[in-house]
């Protein structure tokens, strides 16, 4: 049996893990980091994924895609409010967002596939065998379209997705394996872009989810944005700089806000300091934890409503919860911990690394699927009610939310007019009465034999499988014949599109670590050449002619090295460049400092 890996495909970071002999283990990359930032850079040199792409982000924001998980299974109208935070242009085709980079457009599953491929390569390098099967995690509150998009991403990356598993339940598997917990457990999972709460009952190795709730548009990103908005206002007031006008500065502010938020989890105060572009000075401000918490208080409260609903759906009171588990990097914020503790009246567990626990759980599930673990079994639920449109734009529910999956519902269809040959069926997901307030999943036309009205009897089965994904089949009750149903997803790629994308994915040549290292080195070389040329323009009069000469030589040498296929040569060229430009950099730094000091004096005078 080929090894199955477990993948946490996160909004901010992704990880891959596997079942080692002594338990689940996350796989680290060449830089020793287990987390791969979920960022993709589509550079002229090729594809960058993870940390190198994160470095590339401030340099070329329009070609660097992050937080793509927020777009999975979505149309543009769904993300309209947050468009200003993203530096890249979005389009829409067939109900699917397309991200424009240069001349080309990419669907969110394609971008996710690039991240998955990186994880696949990483696992293959570590385990020394080809990896073709995976368990991938999704937020529990993901709807059918978002799950299908994740499955498509796996396909495009060359992975057979054996199971889509919910993140909080994956975490519970990792915890359950470790502690052999029994009783009712609440898993509070606040990630980079999504929030989930799941209530489980653990008994003799069975992990039965009683209820789940959440918000697929609430996560660490939103906490960052509160800080970003403050900083944008502040920079405008104090420096007269409009951050929105510069995508590079916007990304800088975003990354600094994220860093400050993280520091405030450990310290009561954090200093934010970075230089503004074009010699506009330095932005500096100390943030206190109290200040930050005041900015995000309502976001924290937003997570409480799903918690109460999940409890009520599970038929439990807070006092009946035996354990509370925290999952997701965002649960490191003290304000979250104290609020969760207050709600459940229990000190939450966070013994396992909240960043890694979901990937570890996915690996445990991979072990179960591989038949290596017959003790544990996960019984999960569908997070949202499923229904079909009926007369008067009303939804008739077929499968209620929090129903244990797999589950199916049958519905009989007939005709109203003699000779009618079809019925249009519209499938929806959501908790509201009216069609317009729910999520449209798909439409299809059911074929009926041309007979007198009310004579045809075609039974349609709506089955939600163990991945939480809908499958539709139909059969003619009179003839006993089954009928294939062509379901057109409202917000998803067609099978043909996925096929094309699988073929296209091979065009990104970087199939091995070596090629990847060359691309990374080339991108870095481009950056240093560009920076040096800019510095030379400013510093021509500040350094001797022979120094300028040797810098030009170094640039040429690096250009030659860059054309070769050896990343070590390129790295050597970069190191040489850094050496010969060292003095120039110092001189320029002094000049900038002097300028800054003078302008400060000037402002003191004018104030």
């Amino acid at each position: 049996m080929a090894l199955i890996v477990g993948i946490d495909l996160g909004t901010t970071n992704s990880l891959v893990a596997y079942m080692a002999g002594d338990g689940p283990q996350v796989i680290s990359g060449t830089r020793g980091q287990a987390k791969v930032p979920s960022i993709v850079g589509l550079t002229d040199n090729g594809l960058l994924v993870g940390d190198p792409a994160k470095e590339y982000l401030v340099r070329d924001p329009s070609r660097t895609i992050y937080s793509v998980k927020r777009f999975m299974g979505k149309a543009i109208a769904d993300v309209a409010e947050e468009l200003k935070y993203f530096p890249y242009a979005l389009q829409e085709k067939g109900g699917v967002i397309r991200i424009q980079v240069g001349e080309k457009t990419y669907s969110p599953p394609q971008i996710s596939a690039m991240i998955l491929k990186e994880l696949k390569l990483r696992a293959e390098a570590h385990l020394g065998e080809e990896i073709t099967k995976a368990v991938i995690t999704v937020p529990a509150y993901f709807n059918d379209s978002q799950r299908q998009a994740t499955k498509d991403a796996g396909l495009i990356a060359g992975l057979e997705v054996l199971r889509i598993i919910n993140e909080p339940t994956a975490a519970s598997l990792a915890y359950g394996l470790q502690q052999n917990t029994q009783g009712c457990v609440a898993v509070y999972d606040l990630g980079g872009g999504t929030f989930d709460i799941s209530i489980l009952k653990l008994k003799d190795g069975i992990f039965e989810v009683l209820a789940t709730n959440g918000n697929t548009h609430l996560g660490g990103d939103d906490f960052d944005r509160r800080l970003v908005d403050e900083v944008i206002r502040d920079i405008d007031t104090r420096h007269g700089v409009k951050v929105e006008d510069s995508p590079e500065l916007m990304q800088m502010v975003r990354l600094e806000a994220e860093k400050t938020k993280i520091r405030l989890s450990d310290e009561p105060q954090a200093l934010m300091v970075f230089s503004l572009p074009d010699g506009k000075g330095t932005y500096e401000r100390t943030w206190s934890r109290d200040e930050f918490e005041a900015l995000v208080l309502d976001l924290v409260e937003h997570t409480m409503t799903p918690c109460r609903r999940a409890l009520s759906d599970a038929g439990l009171e807070t006092g009946q919860i035996d354990e509370v588990v925290l999952v997701g990097g965002s649960t490191r914020m003290p304000v979250i911990r104290s609020r969760v503790q207050e709600l459940f009246g229990k000190t939450p567990h966070c013994d396992l690394n909240p960043d890694e626990v979901v990937a570890l759980g996915a690996a445990v599930q991979a072990g179960i699927l591989a038949g290596e673990n017959k003790d544990m079994l996960l019984l999960d639920v569908t997070p949202l009610s499923l229904g079909i449109e009926t007369m008067g734009n009303v939804v008739s529910i077929l499968i209620r939310r929090n129903t244990t999956i797999p589950t199916s519902a049958k519905e009989m269809f007939t005709t109203y007019v003699d000779g009618q040959t079809g019925v249009d069926i519209h499938v929806l997901q959501g908790e509201r009465e009216l069609v317009k307030d729910n999520r449209s999943l798909a439409r299809f036309q059911l074929k009926l034999p041309p007979l007198p009205a009310a004579v045809p009897r075609v039974e349609v089965t709506f089955l939600i499988d163990a991945n939480g994904i809908l499958n539709v089949t139909a059969s003619d009750i009179r003839t006993g014949e089954s009928q294939s149903v062509q379901v057109k997803p409202s917000y998803g790629l067609t099978d043909d599109e996925v096929e094309t994308m699988i073929r296209e994915s091979f065009q990104f040549a970087a199939e091995d670590i070596k090629a990847r290292q060359v691309i990374e080195a080339r991108t870095e070389a481009d950056a240093i050449i560009m920076a040096t040329e800019k510095a030379l323009q400013r510093g021509t009069d500040l350094i001797p002619a022979e120094e300028i000469e040797s810098i030009h030589h170094a640039i040429e040498a690096l250009r030659v090295a860059k054309a070769q296929e050896d990343h070590r040569q390129i790295r050597a060229g970069i190191a040489d460049m850094e050496k010969v430009t060292h003095h120039l950099a110092e001189v320029l730094m002094d000049a900038t400092l002097k300028e800054a000091l003078e302008s400060k004096k000037l402002s003191e005078v004018t104030d």
């Binding site: 179960i368 699927l369 079994l377 209620r400 797999p406 589950t407 269809f413 163990a466």
Partner: protein
């Protein structure tokens, strides 16, 4: 647009829980309960299998909840798709179908109201829908309540605050009355449960037992349809009078 057909086939429980007496795979005579004795492949559960038989319980209304859960967990371990990921397509499909049926059976029997509704459909000769009808003695009160509710909804906050407040208090009082009424109905339902469970098992031709059964079923059906009606009004009242309540409907029956 469509007609519901969730009703199971009427009639008595089948003796055999399997769809056929021969293994779908090796065609040998079925000896095992869920797995072929010869090739050990999982066998499909019969579509006509009733939920009580599926979960190995007598057709009673006061259930041993612990036994129900234990059987459910044990059968989940036998059928769940997670344990069939490495098996062939045929076995995967059977695992999926069996688990879907098992989950529906468990969900239906776990909830007392769904359990009673299911039993009525199972026992009633022709599959009858349980209608929502108002309790006869509450008819006038409910009419008045609906008028108040309509008026309350038509008044937006800010205008005629006094009348709004008056209606709000009245509706809240109505809600308490109806909730108490619903609880009463549930008590009466439990009495019927015990009556049902005490009836002797029906033997062929015993017309008296059949008519006793029908009487209990009819009694339960009336309570259930009144209860559903009252429950829906209570939900409307909650939605209209407490704006923080969850929109839409409750996940529970």
């Amino acid at each position: 647009m469509s007609e519901h057909t969730h009703q199971p086939e009427s009639g008595r429980a089948r003796e055999l829980p399997m769809a056929r007496s021969m293994c779908w795979h090796c065609q040998s005579e079925m000896t095992g309960e869920y797995f072929c004795g010869r090739c050990v492949k999982v066998q499909p559960l019969s579509k006509e299998l009733d939920y009580f038989t599926c979960l190995n319980l007598p057709r009673k209304l006061n259930l041993d909840e612990q036994a129900l859960e234990e059987t459910f967990y044990a059968l989940s371990r036998s059928f769940h798709p997670d344990y069939y990921a490495t098996k062939d397509e045929g076995e995967k499909a059977i695992s999926l179908g069996n688990t879907a049926l098992l989950n529906t059976a468990y969900r239906t029997l776990k909830d007392p109201v769904q359990r009673a509704e299911y039993l009525i459909r199972l026992e009633a000769g022709s599959a009858k829908d349980i209608r929502n009808s108002p309790p006869a003695d509450l008819f006038d009160e409910i009419l008045e309540l609906q008028e108040d509710l309509d008026e309350f909804r038509s008044l937006s906050a800010g205008e005629s605050d006094e009348r709004r407040q008056e209606l709000l208090e009245k509706l809240q009082a109505d809600r308490r009355t109806l909730e108490a009424r619903k609880a009463q109905m549930e008590d009466r339902l439990r009495e019927q449960f015990s009556r049902w469970d005490a009836l002797p098992t029906e033997a062929e031709g015993e017309a008296t037992v059949r008519s006793q059964k029908d009487a209990v079923l009819a009694g339960m059906q009336e309570i259930l349809s009144n209860r559903t009606y009252v429950k829906n009004i209570v939900n409307d009242l909650v939605a209209a009078t407490s704006p923080t309540a969850e929109p839409g409907r409750s996940a529970w029956h």
